[in-house]
């Protein structure tokens, strides 16, 4: 199942629609990296509200998406982690190091925008 990716200005929003196979996750990674390059995106939001489980492969793939997009100058934020998913992640010992996390899409976009402003200030030398 392909994950739809929407473009909102400088940001990309990937909304996971349901259960994902390993192949779906890898395809999402490929698609996001290509899209960041194509649209010169500065941020990526991955909405996992409807993701069925966050297992070790999913966590690892999300982290690699963040690492790869960062190499292209973009930040990644994962939003919508459900309480039971958060609980299972903590029990399993999974982390999403390297990614930002936010509660929901609005918060995620706000976080990316403020991170972007900080970066631009720094590059202005001010």
């Amino acid at each position: 199942m392909q994950v739809p990716i929407l473009r909102q200005g400088d940001f990309l929003i990937a909304s996971i629609q349901g259960a994902l196979t390993d192949a779906d996750l890898m395809q999402l990674r490929e698609h996001l990296v290509q899209s960041v390059r194509r649209f010169r995106s500065r941020g990526v939001v991955i909405d996992v509200t409807v993701l069925d489980v966050m297992d070790s492969f999913a966590a690892r793939t999300l982290r690699s998406i963040a690492n790869m997009t960062r190499l292209l100058g973009a930040r990644t934020v994962v939003v919508g982690i459900q309480p039971e998913i958060a609980f299972s992640m903590v029990q399993l010992g999974l982390t999403l190091e390297g990614t930002l996390t936010s509660l929901d899409l609005d918060d995620g976009l706000a976080l990316l925008k403020s991170a972007d402003k900080k970066r631009q200030r720094h590059s202005d030398g001010s």
């Binding site: 259960a19 994902l20 196979t21 390993d22 192949a23 069925d52 489980v53 966050m54 297992d55 070790s56 492969f57 966590a59 690892r60 459900q82 309480p83 039971e84 998913i85 609980f87 299972s88 029990q91 399993l92 010992g93 999974l94």
Partner: protein, 137 residues
């Protein structure tokens, strides 16, 4: 028409494409047993991890799901069985962070934390069987 007692669901594990089906079947049974949303998620996650170990190290194998009952409580038993290389040092395999495939090494000890009961039997050259139970609250 005779009623059919379906108390064992078997999902063959041959590739990572089978993991989603194993999670789904586990989820379906858990919901039928009245598991909470949280417990259903923990169960599906544990199934994903032990089934993934089969894909990584010991294909082919299978996930068997049984409804079990003890002292008036019902639960779901997950058996992950393979005829793979076996685990030479189970204690080591049960340590967080130990991996033989550059993975995170959390699958076995993590699954134990996600479930209520956990047992692992393995023989080098013969295979591995992980048995886990989650009880309905």
């Amino acid at each position: 028409m005779a009623a059919e007692r379906v108390d064992a669901v078997v999902v063959p594990i041959v590739s990572d494409a089978d993991l989603m089906l194993a999670r789904q079947k586990g989820r379906e049974l858990a919901i039928a047993l009245g598991f909470s949303h949280t417990d259903t998620t923990l169960l599906a996650t544990a199934i994903s991890e032990v089934a993934r170990n089969i894909v990584l190290y010991a294909v082919p194998g299978e996930i068997r799901l049984h409804v079990v009952e003890r002292a008036g409580r019902r639960g779901l038993m997950v058996v992950a069985a393979d005829r793979g290389p076996g685990i030479p040092n189970i204690a080591q395999a049960m340590q967080d962070g130990y991996s033989t495939s550059r993975g995170m090494g959390l699958g076995l000890p993590g699954s134990k934390r996600l479930m209520d009961e956990f047992d692992i039997a393995s023989e080098v050259g013969r295979g591995t069987t992980v048995t886990m139970i989650k009880w309905a609250q």
